[in-house]
Subunit: 484 residues, 2 copies
């Protein structure tokens, strides 16, 4: 099946150098969305991407997203959207793909071994550079797929809709409303039959995966305040009730050291584990050594693979991230902070409805604080919340991707979920009403968001083949396949 793939694959191989060069050009643009002064670089990167696709004959548009909320002196970088071929072929399926062209901040002084904005390929084929794997490699993957088809003279198997954003690393400001709008009848994305997002990673380093679930995230703040201003502990210690003392005592009631959430009612919201689901975990290519390697320690909660994967994917977790307003620098400062804000978040899973979680959190925190009998005042609120997402891995979108993996990587992919959230996933699912697939290119050791981010040359080149093959297998899936 998919008979044209061989010549497409050969063309990808013979254009390896050009594709790496394209990635080098992209990495050289420091499109850091979190840094105001880099905003022109973010826009430049969006325009670079658009020009590459314009050059291949795609219909491309740079859509303004307005001012940045809270930083109204800044324009949001545009959404780069497009269609290839430029004119729709009504006989073919339409696949909407998403990626982002902005990157996390990076400075050589953070501990990088090489200049973060210079793609540096070592003798093992590791291509170091900020954005190499997150998400410039995958985004350029789609560009390279189109170019390889043209060079190989192979007909493009689907209608490709593209949505590339420049604010993903800063909360995808402005994107949700844009997607919802453009998925309406008569709009740009109205005819998407399925969605494919390449913006995550394999579970390990050797075996590809398809991802069908993500945990949600509800992020809370607990603010406790008392005095009118910060106090000197020499003068006021022993005479004033200290907000930091209260906060420590409230935060200590949230979770135990083994990750058990102590907020009453939370664990009862979790969908029970079926025998069938339980059996899925044992075959996943993952070992405790994988965990220990990525942790950089053996301080895991569970001794076995299955519990660990379930702890990451299908059970909720609660992490305490820090305290705002207290002394956080090195050294010693004898301050009594007047107002402290503890931050924690809960990773949510089916069937936890976020409003229900909020209610349980507020009620518990309120009770824990009241229990202290403090004269200080406490406020607990939700900073942001994104719901969990679980798709059907039996949909043709996944079946096609699985075939593509087998063809390119000669192995069946693991079907995985992820512990983190990619909020745009749920937005696409809700806005299109169609199946969404996460099809990662990079591996677990790529250090996205960290120093020395890299993408292996092998993952890049085979990844281009994978994205292309996926489109071919999508084209072959029966048109009336049940959408589970």
């Amino acid at each position: 099946m998919a008979p044209n793939l061989d010549s497409f694959f050969k063309t990808v191989d013979s254009n390896t150098d050009a594709f790496i060069e394209r990635l080098r050009k992209a990495v050289a643009i420091p499109s850091v969305s979190a840094e105001d002064e880099r905003r022109p670089d973010v826009v430049k990167m969006g325009m670079f991407l658009k020009s590459q696709l314009d050059g291949l004959g795609a219909h491309m548009e740079a859509r303004p997203l307005g001012k940045q909320p809270g930083k109204e002196h800044l324009e949001l970088p545009p959404a780069i959207i497009g269609r290839y071929p430029a004119k729709k072929d009504e006989s073919k399926r339409t696949i909407l793909v998403y990626g982002h062209y902005d990157v996390q901040p990076a400075n050589l002084s953070d501990g990088w071994n090489t200049e973060p904005f210079e793609l540096t390929v070592d003798d093992k084929g590791r291509m170091y550079g900020r954005g190499s794997t997150d998400d410039k490699g995958p985004v350029l993957g789609w560009v390279n797929v189109i170019e390889s088809h043209q060079k190989a003279g192979v007909e493009f198997p689907v209608n490709l809709l593209m949505c590339f954003e420049g604010m993903e690393e800063y909360g995808s400001e402005g994107l949700d409303d844009f997607i919802i709008e453009e998925c309406k009848p008569g709009k740009f994305f109205e005819d998407a039959d399925a969605v494919c997002i390449s913006d995550n990673y394999w579970l390990g380093t050797e075996k590809p995966c398809l991802t069908y679930g993500l945990r949600g995230c509800s992020y809370y703040s607990i603010e406790i305040k008392g005095p009118g201003q910060d106090l000197h502990s020499g003068v006021f210690g022993g005479t004033a009730q200290e907000p930091m003392t209260d906060l420590m005592r409230v935060m200590a009631t949230l979770v135990d050291g083994n990750g058990k959430i102590l907020i009453p009612g939370i664990n009862e919201l979790v969908a029970p584990l079926s025998k069938e689901e339980q059996s899925l975990y044992k075959d996943i290519a993952f070992t405790m050594d994988n965990l220990y390697e990525s942790l950089g320690s053996t301080t895991g909660i569970f001794p076995d693979k299955e519990s660990t994967l379930m702890g990451r994917w299908r059970y909720p977790s609660l992490s305490i991230h820090g305290v705002e307003g207290a002394f956080s620098a090195p050294g010693a400062k004898t301050v009594i902070p007047a107002k402290v804000t503890g931050k924690f978040s809960i990773r949510t899973v089916p069937d936890m409805e976020p409003p229900e979680v909020d209610k349980l959190v507020y009620s518990h925190v309120q009770q824990a604080f009241e229990h202290l009998g403090s004269k200080n005042t406490m406020k607990c609120w939700l900073q942001h919340s994104g719901k969990w997402w679980v798709a059907s891995p039996k949909h043709w979108n996944f079946t096609a991707a699985a075939k593509a993996v087998e063809r390119v990587w000669k192995t069946k992919p693991d079907l995985t979920r992820e512990g983190g959230s990619i909020p745009v996933t749920l937005t696409f699912e809700q806005a299109t009403g169609k199946n969404v697939l996460l099809l990662p290119m990079g591996s677990s050791t790529d250090a996205a968001h960290s120093v020395n981010e890299k993408l292996d040359k092998r993952n890049y080149i085979e990844g281009i083949k994978l994205l292309g093959a996926y489109l071919h297998y999508v084209a072959e899936e029966p048109m009336k396949a049940a959408a589970l």
Copy 2:
């Protein structure tokens, strides 16, 4: 008694403008010891002070203190030491006075109503400016005392030894060893009969005080670490034991909301309250409204003045200052910090021996951590420790100062202790073996270390009279008075 005081007082009054002008010049030199780039200004301020005293015929020396530990590219500002009159009069007592010529950082943008390094006098006689009360006003007080004696033609009543440092706001780097050395036989400070430090404040705004006690401070860190690097809570939440969770649970065991230290054994070290001591507190000029005003709230622990003053002065307290290594910025970040360091300190009082306190702290923290059964590792250590100090207020040094207060302010001073520590106090006591008196010039509303620091003109001018009168009454105290 002290018959020459009237003409001295009159001279002080008639030189008011010149004395304010001198303070204006001093405030204009931004001698911020904590900011490397201001180091030349700190030195400039030391030299200004020396030149003022040189001009009055004192014998002055600028003594180098070496490189700054940890910042070896910086010279410490010199200790400005001196003697007046330049030649010792063997028939007179010798009083060693201490002050500091460096100041806390200050920027208009911090919320100052006026330029912090321009002395600005309002119509109520409040003289705003960084260092006005802490400690340039008191230091120049001694200069003004000498000048006023010369102008009044009044014989100087004592031998005055002076020790002015330029690193007080940055931990008095280098000073302890210097003092200990210079108090040895044959050295500069060898013949001090008593010590007077003017670097603290009245308890309120109307009544002067003499201070005979300070709490000590033992500052601890609890470091808990696990993973090799910070983790993403989406990926690792629910699979790794989190150091921040452990830290919250350990820190919650240290103290309760009413300031009761929960570390076993600590409270048992405190000297019992005698009936005599208990009776001292009710007459102190202090009200609960004073507390609430300085707190900016009514979140005090105790409802009554006596318990509040005892809570500040004679009982220990424990404050949690913050966490290093966790997320401390505004906003939301879903990090699992790999290594977090909680900071807390205990204010110590008689008879708590610091090594004994350390032992109890280490043992409790160790037990609290072990109780968690965590795989993370914990380390608890002392960052720094300064012992409490209590002098005898019955010594002639205090008796003289009390007479001076009555003469200048027409009221008996409160005998107070302070909750904070001024470590150099104990150093002087130990190095000289003599009685040390804290004789404040400014009032409780002066906002030392804060924005809009000020010294009231009245406190400055009457304060100069007080310092001079104190020296006259010192000269009159019987030479063989018992040193209690």
